[in-house]
Symmetry: C3
Subunit: 530 residues, 3 copies
């Protein structure tokens, strides 16, 4: 890692990993651990709309886990598909109709099936262990958030029922007021919004910084596809495990680095230890890979099949990728502020991306839709004439699949009435995402100048395209906007932010989500400096 | 009723129930009754887009009635469901397919069924009487509107075919012009827009006043649900029956109160008479209740089943409640003006209400949708693999019901990309609905001040929520915005309006629907006085 | 034709059919024919997004032709529908299910069927000849566009992959630059944008002029329907065949009239020759009529059946008619510029037209929807209760057809929440379509004046309605906005444009599609002169 952190070294002298003026205070803070946890939990409880919603959500998650495993095992072992598919007749005494229960095997046959299948038993054990782990965590969470609930009700005087309709700014204002009277944080006389933001966003700020400095290995240059970004939820989880809260992580607790990481001397030794830990985590990932994969496939199947059937157009819907969300995040920006900003830019960004649909794909999609549509037209006409056609095997399946195929094709065909004005759209997007690589500037003003001989559009396309991924993404391969490599050395925003030499951030932290972000006084990242 | 009308008493001295300067004129008006009816009918014919459309609409209504009763009786008595549900075999000589006519019973069996069923005969008689009553009314209407049609063609020089494309302002301008030349109203030299509005809206203005003064018993405090509003079409019909046009109503004819109601002396006696009349109407309602209920269920079933199947999302769609429409109505505001105003505010109001979806319901809906979606996913996958699965009993029903269930759930889940900005939306709504209770004011400016310690949002929610009802509402329980009780005594707008001391109304009556209502010079009701 | 061209005669003295200053140049242009073709092809290749897309598109077109003919012949001759409709049993040895291949006749039976049917053989021969013609044209096009591709890559230095993201203005700018250096056009020292536009749009400008001057017989006065416009793709093709590129057409090559047409002397003789040619082309059309009709029905069936099933609402969707597109086109306006302009006006125009839905149709549609919905409701309820109902013959067909019927009806029922403001919409439309007949002016400002006694709305309606046609239009009867007859004599814009006395057009030709057309400095056609 030594070749990455040249700037970290230069800045290390003036660099302290805790918010300024906090380190010496922490010495005599001993029993306010819960208070530090507090801010994060207080924010979470607000975002999750109160205790009942959070509780219910977590209970449902536990039940979902049980349901997915149980239902899958049931489907695999306890159903006689020959009866469902009418390959075998059922003998009824009083009726000749087949009912669903006829297709279920008796309990003893079913349990014998399960007992004989070692893989099923293995999966059941693994998921049982995982479920117990989740259950323990759930119990812990309930206790923890029960306290936060009391804090809301007794200290902040907000009932859980009015919490969903209070903004975070209101909650924060009350916390600051409370601190003045009751001194809930011992180590500091007065609490500012910035303090609260710092405590909540400690790890997030680190992640943003690491993504912005390209310290994380998320971008690869593949032989055919060119440069692409691989930053999934799984990878993010592993990163957080390694850096923040896993065994042997860099952090002592929720807010401060371990002392040994603050000295430059034992750097190489620490790097070795980190490398070996990463190796072990990698091996654990590899071993658990089949189980995780099966889980993801099952979960995606249960979640998305119905959506694809109902509105197959959602297959082509776009969303901000995990990488994009990390890359476009400001320092000291809470989740709901980021999401509000990105949501405001979504419509324009979506339209912008639709301006650059591949014309080749369009031609192919149009014609595939025609051929599929022709076959479908004949089947529909036959069905309307006489619905006995549906009894012919695979006719209904064909109709369904051809329908899905056509709708997927249609999502690649742009609206004929679309007005092509990418530059105006880009301007709207930038007003919300607040970031533009330096080499976009020519493009931005080209509409007026018309002088630039070399077309930037294809670059724009490949640049922006990766900020989006299909919404229904089974393998959850999230890709993001590429960081222009030239910024890596010049950009001082990242270490500055970590050193808290940013008076503008305080203003940002007071930001009301109702004010459009364009009003912010802090300069736009990257672009503002040009 | 004595405790309600304290203000009525105070104002009674200066109060005349007819437009000013009209009472003495009415003395020597004897034979222009038809002319008074005229304005209302003239407006109706314009709103119904001409004579042919009105005629066709009324004929269709009569046919609908026959159809609903006849079809229901047919379905109940003349169909052999065992054949439809394949519980009984049909013996065909030349084919083995079951056709729809096979399931219909022969005419003699069918008529015997009906003859044996006394309830069916009772229903048939009741609906026959009702239909005849409607038919007589229809004949009367046709004659009446035929005259109006002649008035349009010969007096106003407008053909029926161009009527739909003329605005009411144009029609009105011609009426006023005609009056100058031909003196169609004997009692007055010059006719103004206000006169026309007053004549058309006589009863509506009374209703608006009564709703605004909370004189009508439409708000109840239920044990669990808290205060709720019950103001349905049925109730409205009964109110109109009691006050305006029923036997023994308060009004002599379309425009003037009976003389005995104008004297304060026999007030108690009149109240007693009204009480006994209301009792009798209540008893009549109770007796007819089963028939009305069956009719409403049948009509809702025939009207909405297909809508729910096609787009179940419409179950969650909102509309302005009957109470809200009455409560937000200005005095002297014609139906189309009110609807245009409310339609303009609809989008913002709908978005505003979606900002306050119950988070608890959201969590439950998300998870119910997941479980239902899982089952549906398996059924869909099996069906695509081999459509013989559909032949298994209740599989298709399950697919349909699960699909409906999921779509209903989805209507409770807000869009992930929704931007939360209720105050801006509220501002937009207010620009159209022109009314804000006093205690909203803090909320309105709170975005800037941030000083108010107590959260008003939950109040807002319960306040606004009741202004809306689900569009598909079988029981037609309409609820509306609560009238703040503090206004009851201070608000002089209502009696003022009745006394016509309102010069601003004349301007309002000249209002072009093309001008946004924000340009009106008249102060906003309630809020404008603050 | 003599009575049509009074103005042509008056202007003929100063009229030259070639762009100014070009005629004498053409004398010594001998070998740059390919260069003249070039501009049109260069533009086409840009619009079709590069060589690969164009190639693929043309190949798919050839395959589509084969597919439609082959598939139809197969369906007509090689399928045993009795098996599909379960009127005949299949004897399987191992299973009792009917599969699709069971319904296909063996190859020898099938080919015998075809051989016996002379009509099929006739159709096959005709379509074979047509396909070969298309194939030869395809080969020619490939060779031609391969050269254009080289021109793009080597001369303009644009790769095919970046072409879709370059605007036409960029391509044009490079061509002009290239001309300065390499002198690609021999006959002129400097090439301007106007030159390029003239070359590309030579024929289009003629068509626009002829439509604007009502020289083409596209408007008829029918006994019942009143004046209507008949201008289909087929008619347009025939017009182009007659005037521009067919054997014996008026043009010598892509840019200049035959010399004999430039002299006024042999006018009558030429008119006779043209008349006889038109007669022969008419006879050819009549003979090919059955084949063309069958083709159009088949193609419409294959293209639109699926669309109608999926979203029957598209039946009521509107689009700019072929006549409207021609009538609203500026001189020297490229296809993409016109389409961008019309697309911008589409939304407002569509809303505007929905303001004038026939109220009579609305009443009928509402009630038909109610009756169909009632029947559908019963069928759906029965199906959900027990899906064996679907096995009854024609139940499924009824459900499908009733569903389509209801959705078609719904497209005639306006949204209840629609705000009626046609004048504002008309203003928005005019900002994009740039044209308003003189007699609209009263309507336009009537909202303020309110003085005009005669209602113009019905005229507006019939005027505008014809500018639209239903998007799914089997017979492709395109209708357009009527040209007000009073303009025919006064309007000098048309001959002026042909004589190129229009400095504003040059500015227009430099127009960037990103600039909204409202910024154009050239006066609006027709209206601007008022």
């Amino acid at each position: 890692m030594a070749h990455f952190d040249t700037e970290y070294q230069r800045l290390e002298a003036s660099y302290s990993d805790s918010p300024p003026g906090e380190e010496n205070l922490l010495m005599h803070v001993t029993n306010n651990l819960t208070m530090f946890l507090n801010f994060h939990h207080v924010y979470n409880l607000h975002q999750k709309n109160g205790f009942t919603c959070m509780l219910l959500g977590e209970i449902f998650e536990l039940v979902q886990l049980l349901f997915v495993v149980g239902f899958t095992v049931f489907l695999a072992n306890c159903v006689d598909y020959d009866i469902l598919f009418a390959n075998k007749f059922v003998n009824h005494t009083n009726s000749f109709k087949v009912t669903l229960p006829d297709a279920f095997l008796p309990v003893d046959v079913c349990s014998a099936h399960i007992r004989d299948n070692t893989f099923v038993i293995f999966v059941l054990i693994i998921s049982g262990v995982f479920w117990l782990h989740r259950f323990v965590k759930f119990i812990y969470n309930v206790c923890c958030y029960w306290e936060i609930r009391s804090f809301y009700i007794h200290a902040l005087k907000m009932s859980m029922s009015e919490l969903p309709y209070a903004t975070w700014q209101e909650v924060q204002a009350r916390i600051i007021e409370i601190q003045k009277e009751h001194q809930i944080c011992i180590h500091k006389k007065e609490l500012t919004e910035l303090d609260i933001y710092h405590r909540i966003l400690r790890f997030k700020n680190y992640m943003v910084a690491m993504v912005n400095k390209s310290l994380l290995p998320v971008r690869f240059r593949l032989p055919v596809l060119g440069e692409c970004v691989f930053y999934t939820r799984g990878l993010k989880y592993n990163f957080e495990l390694i850096f923040f809260w896993g065994p042997g992580s860099l952090f002592e607790n929720e807010w401060s680095l371990k002392p040994e990481y603050k000295r430059g001397g034992n750097r190489l030794e620490l790097a070795d230890r980190l490398a070996s830990r990463i190796l072990w985590i990698g091996i654990a990932n590899l071993l658990l890979c089949p189980v995780i994969l099966v889980w993801q496939i099952l979960y995606a199947f249960f979640s998305y099949t119905e959506v694809i059937k109902r509105e197959p157009g959602s297959l082509g819907a776009r969303c901000w990728s995990l990488y994009g969300r990390c890359y476009l995040r400001h320092f000291n920006e809470l989740d709901h502020e980021l999401m509000s900003r990105l949501s405001k830019g979504y419509k324009a960004a979506s339209k912008y991306m639709n301006c650059f649909l591949s014309p080749l794909l369009m031609v192919v999609a149009k014609n595939v839709a025609f051929f599929a549509g022709s076959l479908l037209a004949v089947l529909i006409a036959l069905t309307i004439y006489d619905e006995d056609v549906l009894a012919v095997e695979h006719v209904l399946s064909s109709i369904t699949l051809l329908g899905v195929c056509i709708t997927v094709c249609r999502s690649f065909i742009p609206d004929k009435l679309m007005v092509f004005c990418p530059e105006q759209l880009l301007r709207v997007i930038l007003a919300h995402i607040h970031y533009m690589p330096d080499h976009w500037q020519g493009v931005y003003s080209r509409g007026a100048a018309q002088s630039g001989g070399d077309s930037h559009h294809p670059h724009l396309l490949s640049e922006e395209k990766t900020a989006w991924t299909s919404r229904v993404d089974v393998s959850r391969r999230d890709r993001g906007i590429h960081l222009p490599t030239s910024r890596r050395r010049e950009d001082r925003v990242v270490p500055h932010a970590l050193c808290h030499h940013q008076p503008a951030v305080a203003a940002s932290s007071r930001d009301n989500p109702l004010h459009p972000p364009a009003e912010r006084t802090s300069p736009q990242r990257g672009h503002g400096r040009a």
